[in-house]
């Protein structure tokens, strides 16, 4: 039963190979060539809960852990500060500026995503123009505010996103203990999707309670199941692929509240074909973002 250093590294390598993640050269150069390597893009990440006083310092921490797990790129959004209730336009702008700073430091490893508070519609549209139309941001969300996403205030914002082929990541939860005030559910995003059939809507967390969330969004073809921010319970990704198809399932982590490991494990550990894992871990995100990236000359 005893293990020496070599056995430990071999076990880690064997386990990670079985999981399908990358092995770095230090541990096993030969092993790196012996398994399927995925291009992993993380659609859902934040700078909250990380060590460091600046966006750049916190981003360095994320890059360190991304490298350890072979994660190629993040889509980064708000959350440097703890959740701000009824965020003012100024607070929203500060959060977006922090994200822009972090991404500017690592342009090859992260894209920026827009934070808005739809309680302030006009300010949200102005922030969209500043950061997306005229800036480097390529996605909207995670939208997590005190207004459910089926509210009519979302409509002009979604229309603006559709006009630029920008997907929207919307926080949703179905909390067994009760949702927070204004917290969205998968039912709400389905309503929004019906009003905006051309929008590409990413159902953040798939409601957390994914057995319900997947069923709720199943018939809404422009809604994608995103797997971040819940415990790595077996069967999540298998059910999502079975009910929605792998093309509608997207990997995200919700770091720094979560680690990359527990979230990417949902895909790497799932009993699905490698082709499906490839889509979920990055292929679908790249397909959704390709139009806006191309339009911005970032593809």
């Amino acid at each position: 039963m005893s293990l020496n250093r070599r056995a430990v590294l071999k076990s880690l390598a064997a386990g990670v190979i079985a999981a399908g993640a990358r092995i770095d050269a230090e541990q096993s150069a030969s092993a790196a060539n012996a398994h399927h390597s995925f291009r992993i893009w993380d659609i859902h990440s934040h700078l909250g809960g990380l060590p460091g006083n600046t966006p750049e310092e916190r981003m360095e921490v994320l890059i360190r852990d991304m490298d350890r797990l072979g994660i190629e790129r993040l889509i980064l959004s708000q959350g440097f500060d703890e959740y701000i209730e009824h965020a003012t336009p100024e607070q929203v702008r500060i959060e977006n500026d922090r994200v822009l700073r972090a991404v500017k430091r690592f342009p090859d490893r992260a894209y920026a995503s827009l934070y808005i508070n739809p309680e302030h519609v006009e300010a949200s549209l102005q922030e969209f123009d500043r950061c997306v139309r005229d800036g480097p941001m390529i996605c909207v969300g995670e939208i997590e505010t005190d207004l459910r996403c089926n509210a009519p205030q979302l409509d002009p914002i979604v229309e603006r996103a559709v006009s630029m082929n920008v997907p929207i990541l919307q926080h949703t939860w179905l909390n067994s203990e009760g949702n927070g005030p204004g917290e969205s559910t998968p039912y709400d995003i389905v309503e929004l999707a019906k009003r905006h059939p051309k929008a590409q809507l990413i159902c953040g967390h798939t409601g957390g309670n994914w057995e319900l969330g997947i069923r709720i969004i199943r018939d809404s073809k422009n809604v994608y199941a995103e797997i971040a921010g819940s415990d790595p319970t077996s069967g999540f990704v298998e059910m999502a692929v079975r009910e929605l198809g792998a093309e509608r399932v997207i990997y995200g982590s919700d770091v720094g509240g979560r680690c990359f490991a527990s979230q990417v494990a949902k895909v790497l550990g799932a009993d699905i074909p490698d082709e499906a894992k490839e889509l979920i871990l990055g292929g679908n995100a790249r397909r959704l973002l390709e139009p806006v990236l191309r339009a911005k000359g970032m593809a």
Binding site: L12, A19, R68, S176, S230, D231, R258, A265
Partner: protein, 257 residues
């Protein structure tokens, strides 16, 4: 690699891959696990705990040639739980027991809980306490995690007592109570990682407790096994700490009995 936190048979609310012992053993071995400490999901809802533990012991003896180390369940709220404990120790020769306080509806402050843990320790059994099984926010029936705080004094008074806490993600909370702080530093308290979360979470847990008392556990098959394994990789630990986490600390605990 020793996985200190697996369960055999079916999760009550969902079929999962690996909910038969043969498949679970095959999958864990393929991922580098050499020994798995196993209890039974049947224990969560059954009252006939003697039957649960009998089936667990039988499965562990029949599947995997010693791969599974059985940890029977004892529920101190059941009548005559003392006989369940005796059989775990004397009949099945188990190395330890596993408690599910939140699922079984008792706190760790209740006299029966303390009596059970003390009696198990007197028998030199490792006591694993699964403080939760699932995020309360996603449960069909909401059950809050058990609070480990009442065990701070017990651990301090009984240095030979060996308690391993499973499935708890709040050890490193900034607002942890004084009792939690004492448990973290207790030399006879061990901490399993299945629900440890956050960027740098494993390093924080080791700093808050001790690298010699953090043990590998996956909570498989309810959790994807890869989650725990990749956490070790994400942590970027020195090889000696990785070795201790993956097997050394659990081995030491077993040897100390």
């Amino acid at each position: 690699m020793i996985d200190t936190n697996v369960n055999l048979f079916r999760w009550p609310y969902r079929r999962v891959v690996g909910d038969d012992p043969e498949t679970l053993a095959t999958r864990l071995r393929a991922r580098g696990v050499t020994q798995a400490w196993a209890c039974s999901y049947e224990a969560l809802l059954c009252h006939d705990m003697a039957g649960v533990n009998l089936r667990l012991a039988k499965a562990c003896s029949q599947v995997g040639a010693g791969f599974f180390l059985p940890f029977g369940c004892v529920n101190p709220k059941l009548p005559a739980w003392q006989e369940d404990l005796r059989r775990c120790h004397e009949v099945h020769r188990m190395a330890g027991i596993r408690l599910f306080p939140n699922c079984h509806g008792y706190t760790l402050a209740e006299p029966e809980s303390l009596e059970l843990i003390s009696e198990a320790s007197r028998r030199n059994l490792i006591v694993q306490i699964a403080l939760s099984m699932e995020d309360a926010r996603t449960q069909q029936n909401v059950i809050q995690p058990a609070d480990p705080s009442p065990l701070a004094d017990l651990l301090a008074r009984n240095p030979r007592m060996q308690i391993m806490f499973l499935n708890y993600g709040a050890w490193t909370d900034d607002d942890a109570s004084e009792a939690i702080a004492r448990i973290r530093k207790a030399e006879n308290a061990y901490f399993e990682i299945a629900m440890n979360e956050g960027v740098g979470g494993l390093a924080r847990l080791m700093a808050a407790t001790s690298p010699s008392r953090v043990v590998f556990g996956s909570h498989a098959p309810f959790f994807y096994f890869e989650s725990a394994l990749l956490k070790v990789r994400e942590a970027g630990l020195p090889a000696d700490q990785a070795m201790a986490l993956l097997s050394g600390n659990a081995q030491s605990l077993l040897r100390s009995r």
